[in-house]
């Protein structure tokens, strides 16, 4: 017997958040649970689906690989009420302190765009590696600008070699503060999303970065912006 529940009016609310530090090791699936609990603790009136096993409705904008930090993640959640009824400043205040180190809610608003309009993401990749200097940075840039740029991609159906050059919209590499610093704009639409880890993988294989002592070498990936065409995604 299904519990009888009235239909509850609900509205999609968008949350922009950053996810940095050790939270980079937490997947979006894990973050899904984390947000559900956060909403309950904070008293945000999330809407629950009808049926046998009611659950909140959350959608993340674009994937973020484990091991990457981000300043601009987007999450849509269904909140009880009409757009007029929903008290955005109140929700913003409730989520001001997540209580979780590295997780900050940057903004809460009623969205006017769809996640499907997202096309690209900007990343900053920093590499601490032995032999880092301006020459190595230039060599890295040369490699990443090659077309075609082939690498082995692991997919569900096995490994296969693919050309990723078309998914790299822009890339530049500099040497600063003793590090190799890469700024890259990569495809982020759902059909041709490029994981920035592939850039690191290619440089590791072709330029010899990150091949030394892991206690002294490291890299970080940070998503800094998300775009819908030429404009920053809202």
């Amino acid at each position: 017997m299904l519990p009888v529940r009235e239909k509850v009016i609900h509205t999609t609310v968008r949350i922009r958040f950053s996810k940095v530090g050790d939270l980079q090791y937490i997947s979006h699936l894990d973050l899904h649970r984390t947000f559900c609990r956060l909403f309950v603790r904070a008293g945000v009136p999330v809407w629950y689906s009808e049926g046998y096993s009611p659950h909140p409705h959350l959608v993340f904008a674009t994937p973020l690989s484990v091991g990457a930090e981000s300043l601009c993640e987007y999450l849509d959640v269904s909140i009880v009420g009409t757009p007029e009824e929903i008290d955005i400043p109140d929700i913003r205040a409730r989520l001001a302190d997540t209580g979780i180190a590295g997780l900050t809610v940057e903004d809460v608003y009623l969205p006017s765009t769809k996640f499907s309009s997202i096309t690209d993401s900007d990343y900053r990749i920093e590499i601490v590696t032995s032999g880092a200097d301006a020459r190595l940075a230039r060599a890295c840039e040369d490699v990443l600008c090659e077309a075609p740029l082939c690498t082995v991609k692991r997919t569900k159906s096995g490994e296969r070699e693919v050309d990723i050059s078309a998914q790299i919209r822009k890339v530049s590499v500099d040497f600063a503060d003793g590090r190799i610093k890469i700024a890259a704009r990569l495809c982020a639409d759902s059909s041709s999303f490029l994981n920035p880890e592939y850039l690191v993988k290619i440089l590791r294989e072709r330029c010899g970065v990150l091949c030394g002592d892991p206690m002294c070498e490291s890299y970080s990936i940070l998503r800094t912006a998300v775009y819908a065409g030429d404009k920053e995604f809202q």
Partner: protein, 611 residues
């Protein structure tokens, strides 16, 4: 933790920490630091209720900081060894060797080598005798500590019984002795041995008879007890409960609110260790449970809650409790689960209440295939109970049932084995005979059979275990009796159960084997991919230990048992009486019907049914 290494291992979220609800304290403001270690993966350890309780209760004390540590998976262990990284606590990232106490909870026997690997990774000497003044005090607790002897060499102290009141006392003693300059390792251990519930194995000498059995235990001092009495919490309504706790980010085995309803068990199944060592039954009041539940929900935001205890339907106010919970859970979209349901308590009413949000799978444990054997093991349920229970389930459209059994129980015959197949077949019949059965689905019965392990402090503690060959023969026999494809048959590895029996019934001499196994790099024996009996047999041979002596030998009634040093309240005489009744096939009344004088009432406390 170094990011390059974290990025190179599987599931880095196991190690990165930072969970909501973890407790961070100022190191300079505390004088007693405890690293609470779970000798298995993060996912299993984070689900453990005992760890949450002790973590919470110790951290309520100013001056004490309790942190968590888990066993790194083998890929991480390899990285740590390669780069000489010590095992660290999650909260501070400090190595375990820097703590005052390193505590392990011993939940199952096959975690023993993992304990030693964790000590190894921390640079803490395995042998308690080899630890210097600057090394942490290593303390073991949990269910396996009821027979601590196979791990006696590696632990400075064992905590016997419930820890939430005992642990703070131990820390108080430590801090006091440190503060007034009386502390030395030896002096502290001597004092600790005087607190009820703490066993310091190095302060007891074990002597053996010519036939290899134990002659006796002798305390090295006159002022420490001859036997160590387990601790119990006297009043569960007044004791701390972790209503605010750490919440894992990554998926763990049991990631939900756990509400402990009562401790102990009124039943007394004769194979069950938990049912004996947790006596006497002490309950929490409905009010306290309800308050705790609301608090837990507000502090966590979890949408699942499970009521935990050995047999939930035996809670004396189960109807009142579920009635009160229904509204609260429905309103907040919390799914309520009741594990460990006895099949004689499974009613339509109860099912409706717990299924308001979500219904789980249906599992029952008849344990044995015939009434004769169920009587012998004191599992007081009958076939009619089972058929009534499955009909309740079939009435509401369910079609799958899971049944748990045990092979190798004392007095078991081939007839009892065949009885398992018959019982499963009758459940399938019951499905088709049920007028309301689900016409869209085929019925399925999963028969899951484990191997009997004679456990300390049970009426069957003296029994020999069937040999692995005999267990395997019985497994094959049952397989041949199950012909219906709607019955799915699973069984446990007999070799694993054999090793469990060795450690469960072992004495101090086994320490040599466990140390040797650790030297060989054994760990995660409880994980089938790392369990290798042949390698263990090599280890036993090398140190000159006959494992069959512990597992497949019947122990004499007049023998001093390795765990006789521990006093759980339940007397040996009672256990022997129960064993006789098992042979005679006579069940025993449950504690609510009639007290059978087990002795646990001598422990005191706010008992539910004891005289």
């Amino acid at each position: 933790m170094n990011s390059t290494i974290l990025k190179s291992v599987s599931k880095p979220g196991r190690y990165s920490g930072g969970e909501y609800g973890q407790i961070i304290k100022d190191k300079s403001a505390v004088d007693c630091r405890v690293a609470f270690c779970f000798p298995d993966t993060y996912e299993i350890g984070m689900s453990n209720l005992g760890m949450r309780i002790l973590y919470g209760v110790l951290n309520t004390e100013e001056g004490i900081w309790c942190e968590r540590a888990f066993a790194p998976w083998t890929d991480m262990t390899e990285q740590m060894k390669r780069h000489h990284l010590p095992l660290c606590a999650m909260e501070s990232g400090d190595p375990l060797s820097a703590f005052d106490f390193v505590a392990f909870t011993l939940q199952y026997e096959l975690c023993y080598t993992t304990v030693l690997q964790m000590l190894n990774l921390s640079g803490i000497p395995l042998s308690a005798a080899a630890r210097g003044e600057d090394m942490p005090i290593v303390v073991g607790g949990g269910h396996c500590a009821f027979n601590p002897e196979p791990m006696a060499d590696f632990f400075d102290i064992f905590s016997i019984g419930e820890g939430e009141e005992a642990w703070p006392e131990l820390c108080r003693l430590y801090r006091g002795m440190k503060a007034d300059g009386r502390y030395s390792r030896a002096a502290f251990l001597h004092e600790a041995a005087k607190i009820e519930g703490f066993y310091v194995p190095s302060l007891y000498t074990v002597s053996y008879k010519a036939d290899g059995t134990i002659e006796g235990f002798a305390p090295k001092y006159d002022d420490i007890p001859k036997r160590i009495r387990k601790r119990i919490v006297k009043d569960l309504d007044k004791v701390y409960y972790p209503t605010k706790t750490y919440l894992p980010f990554i998926e763990t085995v049991q990631d939900k609110m756990v509400l402990e309803v009562y401790r102990g068990c009124i039943r007394g199944c004769r194979f069950c260790q938990a049912g004996m060592v947790c006596r006497p039954v002490r309950e929490k009041s409905v009010d306290r449970l309800f308050d705790d539940a609301k608090c837990m929900y507000a502090n966590s935001g979890y949408d699942e809650m499970t009521l935990s205890s050995l047999s939930i339907s035996d809670y004396s106010k189960i109807d009142e409790l579920t009635d009160r919970f229904v509204e609260f859970t429905t309103q907040n979209h919390i799914s309520l689960s009741l594990p460990s349901l006895r099949l004689d308590s499974f009613t339509r009413e109860l099912m409706d209440k717990v299924s308001t949000v979500r219904t789980g799978s249906l599992t029952f444990a008849p344990e044995a295939g015939t009434q004769r054997l169920r009587d012998a093991i004191n599992k007081n349920v009958c076939e009619a109970d089972l058929l009534r229970a499955v009909n309740v389930a079939f009435d509401v459209g369910k079609s799958a049932v899971k049944l748990y059994f045990m092979n190798g129980l004392p007095t078991e015959t081939d007839e009892d084995i065949a009885g398992i197949a018959d019982l499963a077949a009758r459940v399938i019949d019951a499905f088709y005979k049920n007028q309301n059965h689900n016409r869209q689905r085929r019925p399925s019965v999963t028969v899951s059979v484990s191997c009997f392990v004679p456990k300390p402090f049970t009426p069957f503690q003296w029994e020999k275990q069937d040999t692995a060959q005999e267990l395997m023969r019985k497994q094959e026999l049952l397989k041949s009796k199950i012909t219906d494809r709607k019955i799915i048959y699973n069984y446990h590895d007999a070799d694993v159960s054999f090793l469990e029996a060795v450690f469960a019934r072992g004495d101090r001499r086994l320490c040599a084997a466990i140390a040797k196994a650790a030297e060989r790099g054994f760990m995660f024996d409880a994980w089938s991919e790392y369990f290798h009996l042949d390698k263990w047999m090599e280890v036993f041979a090398e140190v000159g230990i006959d494992p069959y002596y512990y597992a497949t030998r019947g122990f004499g009634l007049d023998e001093v048992l390795p765990w006789d040093i521990i006093d759980i309240g339940v007397t040996k005489e009672f256990l022997a009486r129960e064993r006789e009744k098992a042979y005679a096939g006579i069940p025993t009344d449950n504690c609510r019907e009639k007290c059978s004088g087990c002795g646990a009432n001598s422990l005191g406390g706010e008992r539910r049914c004891c005289p």
